[in-house]
Symmetry: D2
């Protein structure tokens, strides 16, 4: 950490700053430049990170040097993490997670029909929402526990790991009973109590990036889960806010290599929410694999116009099958495998 | 709601759409233009809002006409809402709420010292965080219930209503015992379960705008609280995400008249979080009143460099007193009053 | 175009609007809904697009239905455009343009060295800046005409088409003498006089997307060039402004399929400017081809640390060669060809 | 400037960096921390600003310490600049510039009618566009020189300084003959050749902030004009791009005190373009003065629905008069004067 002093800072002010640093057990180096004096802080940067040094008279700016996340960083763990999500499916370190299914769980029949089709096409994780975060209190809010039971039954029947969203710390125990992977939605990426709660479970966590979260913010949220003891975190980019209304959100694919520079966790891309337009999903799914992503997350519905949530962005099963066959070609080219779920459950 | 059809849509496709509308109990009007055919949907727009009409083949676009919020809208309630927050203090409809205090509650002594100074300067609501949403799991997370108790004691001693953040549905009951106003932080603006929970209490709710929330999104979140039965919602703008790193967030002051066009709820501005820079806070506080806001929310600390959270953006008590004297002049010019807290508690 | 009326609009106001429409030669259809009355405007939407209908009392909103661009749209030309840029190189409709070279032209020796290496690796268009748009007036502004001469000589020697930026309508004639393709930089995307000027030449135009331009804005700028008579426009995405400082700009890859839905022009991706980080460029270049782009634009320098502009984002020749070999694999997979420049110049 | 080295940087790499600095005539200080080694660069920061130090192997990051603008900064000139724009009207240092008029000059009659009304209400600068930057090539592009002549005649008749946009370096000489102030529009804020050209004239320059320009970007563009020798620069905020479609742009009022911290130039706010909604303009104009702005820029038209450009955002003369009377109250409260134009022209 470097402290930049304002021009004209007095010796008393500098002494005061240095004293404060010493109180925190930190050494310093003073460097007088032509226009500015700098104080380099030597020692554990975490100690000073939250100290409001900029509030001290004479301080112009405080420049952090180190990244604020640890367990998520490659400095802590250099090798790619592979997350085992059950039924022999791993995500990361060369294995692609292909998550597919409807936005919301509507009934066992519909879910089973969709699940069979996506499994046949090559998906290895089934998704479906039982608790739905809806911007309107008047919209369908999901089937709740009944939906979780359906999801579990269909997952068991097809021998496929399942993922579903948890929105409330009070639901964590309930959802844990039925799901293989917790999904933390974009709107809850900084719901820190929820993060801490799933950090104390043993289920994998699919952590979606918030709509205005920087890559650093996302990794700090992953840090919440990791620091709770749960190492099975899968990141997910699903588009961020942008000024262009022609897509629902703005897919930030560069975050894949960007995250991978500093972080060992797997990353999955959700082109369904990122674009909101079925006709853009296939290209973006392929681009995701080319960018180095560890999988994709695609919403599929057999009758989109009857879907109870987000039908307008769902692919039809045949469209999904078509994308999957091209994803498989890409996987070969990039030396990635797409694990098939196996009978030997977790 | 208007459905725009793609060029070349067949009669069968149009019939199918019309049938779907009839199933939902809606009438329609078909309008053939030179380049596009439109279907005007007549009836309760809420019925169709969540129907994925865009997923129907032949549909190019679906254009909603009505606003999705009701209870928050001026069509529902034309007159400005005044929210009574206790001790005779009202916010809205001509009365300004002046919320001041430290970011986090650190100890009874410190809080009392700050509270006395801000009350003397003219603040009428005391703030202080007991549960702190921190981007890092390694940062100070607040004193929890002990903090709430301190806040309550100081509020009672000074006869001032208090506001504190609630982050978790499980804390609502606890926080309700100690606070006059629940604060829902920006990161929880779309924590719908939390919104529903405070919607079932009788405490006022200070609902902060999310970092990438549109005005419509904010009003939809207010709708969650209102539809739960709690009519005492105060909106709060605290800055949104922007590409310019020179301020912590970007203060969107135009949202004040923007919201007031469509919505009857009071709005308060938080220039402390919006700018993150003490030297910008006074001008922005004055501009807020000029823009028509129903109050301001300013962080104050007697020793910012020792604050346990966000000290770098706190004003000193004397700086706050200076702003307050200018806010009082502005209030006169704009015919607003700043209610003084009275002994007659709620 | 649909005009939405405010609740309570009077018959006189409606008559006045209808009269205005009739004066413009437009028919209308009135549709009274439960909460709002709409006026559907029938006729040439361009006539009304610029009429300030929203300024008429009683009008709540004006909703356009048609896209404002014509020559750029697939409704005007359904098939993909292929732009011939000289030396037998075409871009679009199945052919990839691979643009490579240094940010700025520094000397003939350096440019020749770089050009040889990128040509050997498979690039088919050479780039180099002679007029540099620099945010600081104190930075190196380019070699000007001397740079153009060097670029032309190197292009001719290696039999490669060249592209260089033009920043000023006064330079168009000069630059035209030396270049095969005009580059319009992001900062000039809405320099309408410059667009009109290159629209009157016969050279191809590489039109870069502005940092806060929507897809629609970009296509409207293309329309300026096309409507001047120059049909040889290549679009280029180079990243947009975002709130995340970890990359220089934010690459919007979804704009590739997004643009291709509505527009027949080829699109090239510039991952160098979009990311500003050499380590992210290879993945983003591959993802671009997977997304359906018609080429990439990559900055290459043989000694980045000595480059006179943007050296920190340049790839080394060997890094570029490595990306190229993987781009070639991707091209095969996606049935695209990478034309080799031929001796038969334009 | 501080150079942060990657962990594991070799002595050879450090020596190489130090050598490069020495070649540029700079001294350095090496500081070995617990996790990172830093090199503090001592000497003229401008020398290194454009050197691609980040391209050198071993360098993780380069952190600039000083601001890149000079002439625009308060370190260069501590006191507020007052810009004399003719007819005795000054802007800045306590004097407010009130710019009003139609978006486009349409005819002498209409301009005169509007000009008389805004002058009577207290405006001291008349605006009107003769060259209009329009996103569509099919929209009205302005009257050109004929418009300039009308503007000049009306300004002379009413004894009011006038401002009009210049879009093209080739028009600078022409426009200079007729105007008192050049307007550089938002889309041309980084049209560096145009900035250099007006930097060589003696007319005041109203420099509008680009739609995605940071405060630093704006000041760098001002630096282009100042470094050309023209010291009469007035900055103008007119809203930036945002994700919320409910206003045309997003007004960033905090940029007023933000700029004033570092820069001595006057700043004017344009709530017309910033909001695009007449009903929001009055509050935002008042908030601008409260924020410390040196004036406002408001579009006024006597018959908005007949305006040839941007009529939907124009105030009526009586609405403008109403705002002006309240601006005058604000000016008194903030000890600002609104100079009346006088017969003694420049």
């Amino acid at each position: 950490m470097i402290i930049v002093l304002k021009p004209g800072t007095t010796t008393e002010q500098i002494d005061h700053i240095v004293e404060r640093l010493a109180e925190m057990g930190l050494r310093h180096e003073l460097s007088k430049g032509v226009k500015r004096t700098l104080i380099g802080v030597i020692g554990d940067e975490d100690v000073v990170r939250n100290a409001p040094l900029r509030a001290i008279p004479g301080v112009e700016e405080v420049v952090p040097i180190l990244k604020p996340y640890k367990l998520a960083s490659r400095e802590f763990q250099p090798d790619d993490t592979s997350v085992d999500v059950g039924y022999g499916v791993c995500v990361g370190a060369g294995s692609l997670g292909i998550i597919a299914g409807p936005c919301a769980i509507e009934s066992e029949d519909v879910l089973l029909e969709i699940a069979k089709s996506v499994k046949a096409a090559g998906a290895n994780i089934l998704r479906g929402g039982a608790f739905k975060p809806r911007t309107s209190p008047y919209s369908f809010q999901g089937l709740g526990e009944e939906g979780l039971k359906i999801l579990k039954r269909v997952g068991t029947e097809l021998q496929m790991p399942v993922v579903t969203e948890v929105m409330d710390p009070r639901q964590v125990e309930l959802v844990e009973r039925y799901t293989d992977i917790f999904q933390i939605g974009a709107r809850n990426m900084q719901n820190f109590n929820l993060l801490s709660e799933v950090g104390q479970t043993k289920r994998a966590v699919l952590l979606k990036r918030g709509m205005s979260a920087t890559v650093k913010d996302l990794l700090m949220s992953a840090e919440y889960v990791l620091s709770g003891g749960n190492k099975r975190v899968i990141l997910c980019e699903r588009g961020i806010k942008s000024f262009d209304p022609s897509t629902r959100n703005l897919l930030d694919l560069s975050m894949v290599p960007n995250v991978k520079q500093d972080c060992h966790l797997p990353i999955i891309i959700d082109p369904s929410h990122a674009t909101g337009r079925p006709e853009l999903i296939p290209s973006m799914a392929l681009a995701s694999i080319a960018a180095g992503a560890d999988g994709v997350h695609i919403e599929v519905h057999c009758r989109p116009e009857e879907a109870m949530s987000d039908g307008q962005q769902a692919l039809l099963p045949e469209q999904f099958a078509d994308v999957m066959s091209r994803i498989q070609q890409m996987a070969s080219l990039f030396d990635k495998q797409i694990p098939k779920p196996e009978r030997t459950s977790e």
